[in-house]
């Protein structure tokens, strides 16, 4: 395998006296399907906020595609190829679904034409939202909102897609729907980090899983190894 696409080296993040991430190190290879799991409050979202740039790491280094991005603002990282969806959808409420995709297309996807209409439509079709292109986000259902999050991240033309709990609260059939989309995107060569509580989904999807607990990396391995790991069981269920 070539150099890793994303290297997180010894990242520390503190909020006041609380250490949310304690020297977390992980490497994600290009084209990989990578799972990040851990109990609530274990630092998963903090970690990806540090990777995407919404938070600055206090210590450590983050290298993406050969570039040290540790000090870069989020929009620069997006342009380099890191895109994310939000756990709680944050659509641009005053714009249509189509125009929501226009923003990343114009600002990060290198299509400086007005909104890149054709490209946006293609992405919507791929995700299965094309029938809703002209609706405002307020008119979407929960799953459609999650799909919009993914579609908008895709419009940034990323090399790495971080999916932050895109399936929380969805029905079993809807989870399969989102999984199928993520598998398709991965097949197109996009590296995917999946943060998820739904074990069935994350274990089926991931080739490699890292487990966080209380800001520390406690395990890494294939889904099978993780399931059999006693430390992981302890983190989730207690002694």
């Amino acid at each position: 395998m070539a150099n890793p696409l994303l290297e997180v080296d010894g990242v520390v993040k503190r909020f006041g006296g609380f250490t949310a991430l304690n020297r977390v190190t992980l490497h994600v290879k290009a084209g990989e399907r990578f799972g990040l799991i851990g109990p609530n409050g274990s630092g998963k979202t903090t970690l990806i906020n540090c990777v995407a740039g919404s938070l600055r790491a206090d210590e450590g280094r983050i290298v993406f595609d050969g570039t040290d991005v540790t000090g870069l603002p989020p929009h620069r990282r997006t342009r380099l190829g890191i895109a994310r969806s939000f756990q709680i959808p944050k659509p641009f409420t005053s714009m249509s679904v189509l125009d929501n995709l226009g923003i990343p297309l114009e600002y990060a996807g290198h299509a400086r034409s007005e909104g890149g209409g054709a490209e946006a439509r293609e992405i919507l079709k791929e995700i299965g939202l094309d029938a809703k292109a002209h609706l405002r986000p307020a008119g979407l259902t929960q799953i459609e909102m999650r799909k919009l999050e993914l579609a908008r991240a895709m419009a940034a033309r990323p090399k790495l897609l971080i999916s932050d709990e895109a399936m929380a609260g969805l029905s079993s059939a809807e989870v399969d729907d989102i999984l199928a989309i993520l598998f398709r995107l991965n097949a197109q060569g996009i590296t995917i980090i999946m943060i998820e509580h739904i074990m069935r989904a994350v274990m089926r999807f991931s080739q490699r899983v890292v487990v966080l607990d209380a800001g520390e990396r406690i395990a890494e391995g294939t889904p099978d190894e993780i399931v059999r790991n006693p430390a992981v069981e302890k983190a989730y269920l207690g002694e």
């Binding site: 740039g53 603002p73 929009h75 997006t78 641009f92 125009d99 923003i103 114009e106 600002y107 909104g115």
Partner: protein, 311 residues
């Protein structure tokens, strides 16, 4: 011809119509009142570039307006600078202040940003009150240049304000329809999501605060020649803060049309009220109308028309 070309042409036509109206030499009050309404077109349009497009509500309009006016007073007193210089200088000084409050947006959002801008206005007024060279708290008289075109200086200032309003509106319209406007709309809707979608939010916010400040200062620069006596209470009047916010809200904040419609309607209404009822009633009328719109038509007249058309 391009869309931009057409709008510039319409702008030139409006300026020509203004000059035409000025050369008719009708009742002087028309120019006197027209100046105030046009000044509010500039103020409302400038405010909306930050408040409407980017969603950062500025309560400190008087600070920018007065800064433009006092920059003019300073230049008139020190070097008797001609009007075009006053306008450009007033705009630039206010733009610098705008750039300053742009950096505030790094730490302050929503209500906290608004409170900071309000405080800024108070601080600046205190500084002006203690600066004797530009009149201090007593105020200062300004002599108008002699021999203005159209026979009277107010009529001349009216045509100047027509031109300034056209430039401000064209600039706002251009920003709104460019990639800058789309980026501002994204950060207004959700700043974190916009940043993560590749929008350089800080740079766009600095742009919006600077351009907004520039045109607020531009609106204030001819003020000393209009009133001929400048003192802090009139330059920092609450009216500017309230109207700058109320006019775009009433017209609609998401499009350049909104502030223009709001300024013309509310500006005209308050001029009529001043003549027929009393000048004290102005702010009351503005307040009542604003509350009514916030409750009944939160997207302003532009939004109301769009909704009635079923869009």
């Amino acid at each position: 011809m391009t869309r931009m070309g057409w709008s510039v042409l319409v702008g030139i036509a409006v300026i020509a119509a203004g000059i035409g109206l000025a050369s008719l030499r009708v009742n002087p009050y028309v120019y006197f009142a027209g100046y105030v309404i046009l000044q509010y077109v500039v103020i409302a349009t400038a405010w909306n570039i930050l408040g409407g497009y980017a969603g950062y509500v500025n309560f400190g309009t008087p600070a920018f307006f007065a800064l433009g006016a006092y920059a003019a007073v300073f230049l008139i007193r020190s070097i008797k600078a001609p009007l075009p210089v006053l306008i450009v200088a007033g705009g630039l000084v206010a733009a610098l202040l705008g750039l300053g409050i742009g950096y505030l947006t790094l730490r302050l959002r929503g209500t906290f940003f608004s409170i900071a801008t309000l405080a800024l206005s108070v601080v600046l007024q205190t500084m002006i009150i203690n600066w004797e060279y530009v009149g201090g708290s007593r105020g200062i008289s300004v002599l108008r240049p002699s021999g203005p075109p159209f026979g009277s200086y107010v009529t001349f200032l009216f045509t100047v304000m027509v031109a300034l309003a056209v430039v401000a509106v064209l600039a706002a319209r251009f920003i709104e329809r460019s990639w800058i406007g789309r980026g501002l709309a994204a950060l207004r809707d959700n700043e974190e999501a916009a940043e993560c979608m590749g929008v350089p939010t800080l740079r766009l916010k600095l742009f919006a605060t600077t351009v907004s400040g520039f045109f607020l200062g531009v609106a204030g620069a001819p003020f000393p020649y209009y009133v001929t006596f400048v003192e802090p209470n009139s330059a920092f009047a609450l009216d500017y803060a309230v109207n700058a916010l109320a006019m775009p809200m009433i017209g609609g904040t998401t499009s350049w049309v909104g502030p223009v419609v709001g300024a013309v309607l509310l500006g005209t209404a308050s001029q009529v009220a001043t003549v027929t009822i009393s000048s004290e009633l102005n702010l009351l009328i503005v307040g009542v109308v604003l509350v009514a719109f916030v409750v009944l038509a939160p997207e302003g007249l532009v939004g109301l028309v769009r909704r009635l058309r079923g869009r």
